[in-house]
């Protein structure tokens, strides 16, 4: 059986758990309140790779920002290892769509940045760990280069290495490959899976690209239009890491269609 909606389990086993999540914020310049996320349930176990897909503006990035601690929640609960999320912190590292590498720091110094701020490790060890990650993402030769000397794909790798350097409990990725050309993107997706396997990472990945979600995730959570909630979770049956050949299989195409059906059904409204 290739796919199927998973039911959300009761509390206890979850690493990241959202229950009946409600996120509202005041609309800029008025008294109205925007409801971005409502009645949203989501659960990640340790080591899970979950992709959030949904129509643009559906609130999937808001959920990610709430986990990161940038956005306060209005109702329901959102817990990491049983604790409510306080504010931003290095236990939840974010990979933004724009790499935002500090241009005055070398690749290595950018990767060390998070460790430097958290002071979690002595300088030497921080540097060693950063170097190991730079090697892991395939940039050993460019460790001393500055971001301006790198291609977009290389910058995306640094971005990923920087987030992994702080050894976060959960890795949050907000369309990190959206601005990258299609071929490089596919390479980076494979690399991401390889790196996640090597570091046993738990990841929450936001994208609007169905193929990307199907290729990366253990489960794809499809969001409804705003106010966003998870309308269906689709389990992806293949072991990670996955080979590029998978993309050309019949089963992959079927899974893609299944996700698309849920997604576009939801977009068109009640027919789904």
């Amino acid at each position: 059986m290739a796919t199927g909606a998973t039911t959300v389990r009761g509390g206890g086993g979850g690493h990241l758990v959202a229950r009946d999540l409600l996120i509202q914020y005041p609309k800029r310049g008025s008294n109205e309140v925007v409801t971005a996320v409502e009645s949203c349930d989501l659960e990640l176990k340790r080591g899970d790779f979950v992709c959030l897909v949904g129509p643009s503006g559906c609130g999937k990035t808001t959920v990610l920002n709430a986990v990161a601690g940038f956005v306060p929640i209005t109702g329901g609960s959102l817990q990491l290892d049983g604790r409510t999320i306080p504010g931003p912190g290095p236990d939840r590292a974010m990979v933004f769509q724009q790499p935002n590498l500090l241009p005055w720091r070398t690749v290595l110094a950018n990767v060390t940045y998070g460790l430097e701020l958290s002071k979690a490790l002595p300088k030497k060890e921080a540097r060693d760990r950063a170097m190991e990650l730079v090697e892991l993402v395939g940039l050993a030769d460019a460790a001393q280069a500055y971001p301006a000397q790198l291609s977009g794909g290389m910058q995306a790798r640094v971005n990923l290495a920087r987030a992994l350097a702080v050894e976060p409990e959960i890795l949050l990725l907000d369309e990190p490959f959206a601005a990258i050309d299609a071929q490089t993107r596919e390479v980076l997706q494979s690399e991401l899976l390889r790196v996640c396997a090597a570091k046993d990472v738990t990841a929450l990945f936001v994208t609007h690209d169905i193929a990307e979600a199907a290729f990366l995730a253990d489960r794809v959570a499809v969001f409804s239009p705003r106010p966003g909630r998870v309308i269906r979770e689709i389990t992806v049956p293949w072991q990670r890491p996955r080979s590029q050949d998978l993309r050309r299989t019949r089963e992959f195409a079927d899974l893609h269609d299944e996700i698309a059906d849920v997604l576009y059904g939801a977009k068109e409204g009640a027919q789904a």
Binding site: F96, Y113, Q149
Partner: protein
């Protein structure tokens, strides 16, 4: 894994955008040098043809001759010493005061709001017109001249620094916050390095303003000074002396600006190569 044996050489695979070539052989410098040679030749020709009396327009050789005479004379060294003192005192305090004030304005909105009326007012005023007031308050020594230089130089530093802080890339701020950076860490690792190019630009503007300050300050009564010397020479129709003073100012400006550029290059080697 030999993570400790980090290769410090520039990455081989990385494509370096700025091409290196022998600096002095580049077309830019050849054309520039040729243009200067042509200009001096034209000057000499104009003098040889006696388009103006020599008293009014001395030739380059006359000026050179005059310069040699003056550099052998202790009086001119006293002039240059006095002017240098005024310049350095003024610039020193402009940096000491201008940098922190600019950073505070850029970092705290409240400071910005409190100081902006004064800065707007003083920046719009031709500050050199405050010279008489400074003289009345502080007399004719070196100190009031340093104050005038300070007033000229401090504003470009303050304004550029504050502007650099305001132009901070919000994406970088987000990254720092995401890693749980404190305000101090955010300032030290993002705001300050991001502002360095703006500070360097402000310092270069400040040098030009400071030189104006030195010249004008000396017109309102001084014992020594290059500006004073030029003014006295003008009254005696010694045009070649004026030229020497002019070149002293020019060379000072060029040298200081070049030093600042080198400093800037040191702190901003990360910037993509341009021009």
């Amino acid at each position: 894994m030999s993570a400790s044996t980090v290769d410090v050489k520039p990455a081989v695979r990385v494509e370096v955008k700025g091409r290196r070539q022998a600096k002095w052989l580049s077309p830019k410098y050849l054309v520039g040098t040729a243009a200067v040679v042509v200009a001096i030749a034209a000057w000499q020709i104009a003098v040889t043809l006696e388009l103006k009396p020599k008293l009014v327009l001395p030739g380059p050789l006359d000026v050179l001759h005059q310069a040699v005479t003056m550099f052998r004379d202790g009086g001119f060294w006293a002039d240059m010493g006095a002017s240098a003192q005024e310049l350095l005192i003024g610039l020193f305090f402009a940096v000491i005061v201008g940098l922190p004030v600019g950073l505070l304005i850029g970092w705290y909105k409240g400071v910005d709001w409190a100081l902006s009326p004064f800065i707007t007012f003083l920046y719009a005023t031709p500050r050199i017109a405050m010279t008489p007031l400074i003289i009345v308050w502080f007399g004719f020594g070196i100190a009031p001249k340093g104050i005038i230089v300070f007033l000229m130089a401090v504003f470009p530093i303050v304004i550029n620094t504050a502007q650099g802080m305001h132009a901070l890339e919000q994406g970088f701020v987000r990254v720092a916050q995401c890693f749980g950076a404190s305000d101090l860490q955010l300032f030290r690792t993002v705001a300050l390095p991001g502002t360095v190019p703006f500070i360097a630009g402000g310092l270069r503007l400040a040098v030009g303003q400071a030189l104006i300050g030195v010249y004008v300050a000396e017109l309102s009564g001084a014992q020594h000074g290059v500006g004073l010397m030029m003014n006295t020479a003008a009254q005696q129709y010694q045009s070649s002396k004026i030229f020497v003073g002019l070149f002293v100012f020019a060379v000072t400006g060029v040298v200081l600006t070049a030093l600042l550029r080198r400093l800037e290059a040191r702190f901003a080697s990360w910037r993509p190569a341009s021009h």
